[in-house]
């Protein structure tokens, strides 16, 4: 059977009175869900009862019929179907009339093999354009070309089983993107997320694999793990870089065999889930340091997608502010206020911006001044530092990887950021941070950073 099975399965209505022509359409639309209507009455019933992605409509439906197919065009259009007129009538008046009534496409019968393929391509292109516009206006708000390209690249593989690894700093939208991938995957199961850094190793094992009643003190009942809950769905492992080698090994086996043992059980469970993972860490460094198994990495890394920090896509700040305030109180900003918002680096990325906007909207009206913005940013910095020099994320990292690793990571992040601010000049970086050359170079060696050659010594 011929078919266009490389595109998603479409719901198609074919209105055609000729049995041979219906058979031909059936052959050329293999792989899609196709419904046939031999006359206008049946077609109207089908259009009323169900929605269809496309409607192929023959103009003349039966002997002595006066092109009653034309009447179906506005009905299909009102239901949001992409209507395609196929006719032996390919004279201009009929074509004009069909388009006037709202049809999206028209072809003369006789060359179905080529025509149907082209129609489906045009439909898919149009749908992709509409989808993309809606996606970046409502689901993953970004005007940044590189970020859009990354998101679209990830979504190209949404309907496949390919494991996807999302990289980028905290608060850049990795979880949102994972959810969007799942929603577009066509999978029947749930989206099940777990933060691997938020649990101790023992708890993580129970969370992932489940447990049997009595397996350990406190296991008062059987418990389903995330792997089972994600059956036929998507398992999202956030902060996968913090997972221990032992857990990586167990999970690798479960991913490969689609079978695992809950803690304390001798009976295996099976689950077919798609894996999406995320980390803010440099994965190659983790592998090199022996913190991530290479075989585990290969298993979770069919495609890697990197999301840039908000500081590198400041064009997204005001679209995001518009999105966060949609339907609620809207603020306007003085020119100086806007400049101050753009000047800030937003180290907490979109999460930080969201919190900032929530606070701003709650406490302000009308036109927002530079002073208000500067004051709020300062108070947020003081608040985040109050009582703790360490963020929750850093604390979890230290718990997972050990304090030495966490300190190295902290040092490397500060140095990298200072070098970026100083455009790679090491001398200025040493002076700004008041550190030794030895510390700088040991950090650079860890990250294999290629700093710019010094302009002056």
């Amino acid at each position: 059977m011929l078919g266009f099975v490389t595109m998603p399965k479409l719901s198609i209505l074919v209105v055609e009175d000729d049995p041979l022509a219906r058979k031909i359409m059936e052959s050329h639309l293999g792989g899609h869900s196709v419904e046939f209507a031999p006359d206008k009455r049946t077609a109207l019933e089908a259009l009323a009862a169900r929605s269809h992605d496309l409607c192929f409509i023959d103009l003349k439906l039966g002997k002595n019929d006066d092109c009653s197919g034309l009447e179906l065009i506005p009905v299909a259009a009102s239901k949001g179907s992409y209507s395609v007129v196929m006719s032996g009538h390919d004279s201009e008046p009929y074509i004009d009339k069909a388009y006037e009534l709202g049809c999206n496409d028209f072809y003369a019968k006789g060359n179905e093999a080529d025509n149907i393929g082209r129609v489906l391509d045009r439909f898919q292109r149009k749908r992709d354009q509409l989808e993309t516009g809606r996606l970046f206006a409502e689901e993953f708000v970004t005007d940044d070309a590189a970020t859009r390209a990354s998101v679209l690249e990830a979504l190209r593989y949404a309907v496949s089983d390919l494991p996807i690894l999302l990289l980028g700093p905290s608060g850049t939208g990795k979880t949102s993107l994972a959810q969007i991938i799942h929603e577009r995957s066509g999978r029947d199961g749930q989206f099940v997320a777990i933060n691997c850094a938020a649990q101790s190793e023992d708890l993580l094992e129970v969370e992932l694999f489940g447990c049997r009643k009595g397996a350990f003190t406190g296991a008062n009942s059987d418990r389903k793990g995330k792997l089972l809950l994600a059956d036929k769905g998507t398992l999202f492992l956030d902060e996968v870089g913090s997972m221990s080698l032992k857990m990586q090994s167990k999970l690798l086996k479960a991913i490969e065999e689609k079978s695992f043992y809950p803690v304390g059980s001798e009976k295996p469970e099976t689950a077919a889930f798609r894996v999406v993972t995320a980390t803010l860490e440099d994965v190659q460094s983790l592998i090199k340091a022996g913190k991530m198994r290479f075989d585990f990495f290969q298993r979770i890394h069919g495609l890697a997608v990197t999301l840039k920090p908000l500081a590198q896509r400041k064009c997204d700040i005001f679209p995001l502010i518009g999105f966060f305030t949609r339907g609620g109180k809207r603020l306007s900003f003085t020119t100086e206020a806007k400049a101050e918002i753009l000047r800030h680096d937003w180290p907490g990325n979109i999460r930080e911006l969201r919190r900032f906007i929530d606070l701003l909207v709650a406490g302000n009206e009308g036109r927002v001044s530079f002073e208000t913005i500067a004051g709020l940013l300062k108070s947020m910095r003081v608040e985040e530092g109050a009582g703790s020099f360490v963020t929750d994320e850093q604390f979890r990292f230290a718990l997972g990887q050990g304090l030495d690793e966490a300190v190295d990571r902290f040092i490397d992040t500060i140095i990298k950021r200072a070098l970026a601010k100083n455009e790679g000049h090491k001398t200025k970086t040493l002076a700004d941070l008041k550190i030794s050359t030895r510390l700088l170079y040991s950090s650079l060696k860890r990250f294999r950073e290629d700093a710019k050659p010094e302009a002056t010594s």
Partner: protein
């Protein structure tokens, strides 16, 4: 357009459609599995009969005018 003209236009349209379907069906015959080939041949015979009936009906109508 006269009644005869409309009848002729209708015949031409139907011939175009039905012959077009026959042409396309022939290309499918080459690759169709046996059961489907049987089905296609049956529908093609039906179509050929329908074409003959349409032409006969047109001739009869033209002769009666």
């Amino acid at each position: 357009m006269t009644a005869a003209g409309k009848e002729l236009a209708s015949l031409i349209h139907d011939m175009n459609s039905k012959c077009g379907s026959l042409r396309t069906a022939i290309t499918l015959l080459r690759t169709a599995p046996p059961e489907e080939r049987q089905e296609l041949l049956g529908l093609m015979k039906q179509q050929a009969r329908s074409i003959a009936e349409d032409i006969a009906a047109f001739e009869a109508s033209a002769a009666s005018r």
